[in-house]
Amino acid sequence: MAIRITLNGAARDLPASLNFEQLLEELALNGKRLAIERNGEIVPRSAFGDSRVADGDRIEVVIAVGGG
């Protein structure tokens, strides 16, 4: 069943309730050094395979960038 999440502040439709590994693949971000927050809570990398995004989730995907 298709779901709608908020990804980095923008609405995004997904074909199904993917796990986080599948989500990263869908976003062409797999293998990147990044961190994920779901509804204000950290999703540990070790849980990417088990944890699934649900309809209405607010997901943040962050990386390190240049800064002072």
Partner: protein, 262 residues
């Protein structure tokens, strides 16, 4: 050897550098190499979804195996946002605990909001973070940050990115004298003499970004800053001569002058 010790780990370089505002990653890498810095700050930001999938990332250019990565909370205006950002940073950096906390008060001055900074530091210390805190040059604030468990305090020399140098050396001196954790000047350094003066005052280190990145030749300025921090530290350790405003003292012998009659 004279080392900077932060949270039990020692570093040969007392210069910490930011990684923002460079032209590209190649310039970032060359400037940071020239600076000799071992601790480099990074910001945590949303990744671009669906763009530049094959672009190198900052941490490929500055690998955590080579540098101590210091994630910051730049752009955070509340304790809650700062804590959230650093929890993400810790996950991103495989459990790395050393962080730079900065909670800003307003977008014009980028002056730190100290009540929010203290609140965030309290939470972060309780969660096991090693907090290096950007702060105002108020000695009482610096002491409170130390008391609640910060591993370093980092008072501003002047406003972030202003390049105005050290506006209140007397406050910095009080902080250096009264705080036992390392004191690093963070923000406001404009050129090499500013960094040297900070070190001569007895600061344990200096953190800068714009002074290097926005110099006409960033790599060259990075080298200048490395030398300035080393020179300032050496001068501090050597102990400067006393200032004698009303008393000249010749360095050459006053006897044996040829024009003196026998």
């Amino acid at each position: 050897m004279d080392k900077l010790v932060v949270a039990g780990k020692s570093y040969s370089s007392r210069l910490l550098v930011g990684t923002g505002k460079y032209r590209d990653f190649d310039e970032t890498r060359r400037a940071i190499e020239a600076s000799g810095a071992e601790i480099v700050t990074v910001a945590i930001r949303r990744t671009n979804i669906g763009q530049n999938a094959n672009e190198p990332s900052l941490l490929e250019v500055l690998p955590p195996s080579k540098y101590t990565i210091l994630p910051n909370t730049a752009g955070c205006y509340t304790a809650q946002d700062a804590v959230r950002t650093l929890r993400l940073a810790r996950e991103l950096l495989d459990g790395h605990a050393l962080v730079k906390l900065e909670v800003l008060g307003d977008a014009e001055s980028l002056y730190p909001n100290m009540p929010e900074t203290l609140a965030a530091a309290t939470t972060l210390v309780a969660e096991g973070f090693q907090v290096m805190a950007y702060c105002s040059d108020d000695p009482i604030m610096a002491r409170q940050l130390e008391e609640l468990g910060c591993v370093a305090v980092m008072p501003l020399a002047s406003l972030i990115g202003s390049g105005m140098g050290i506006l209140n050396p007397w406050n910095l001196q009080i902080i250096i004298d009264r705080v036992r954790v390392p004191v690093l000047v963070d923000a406001g350094i404009g050129t090499a003499s500013d960094a040297a003066i900070a070190m001569e005052l007895g600061c344990d280190g200096v953190l800068m970004n714009t002074a290097i990145a926005k110099a006409k030749e960033p790599v060259r300025m990075a080298r200048a800053m490395k030398l300035a921090v080393e020179a300032g530290r050496e001068a501090f350790l050597a102990g400067r001569m006393a200032k004698k405003p009303y008393e000249a003292s010749a360095s050459s012998p006053t006897s044996g002058l040829i024009q003196k009659s026998a």
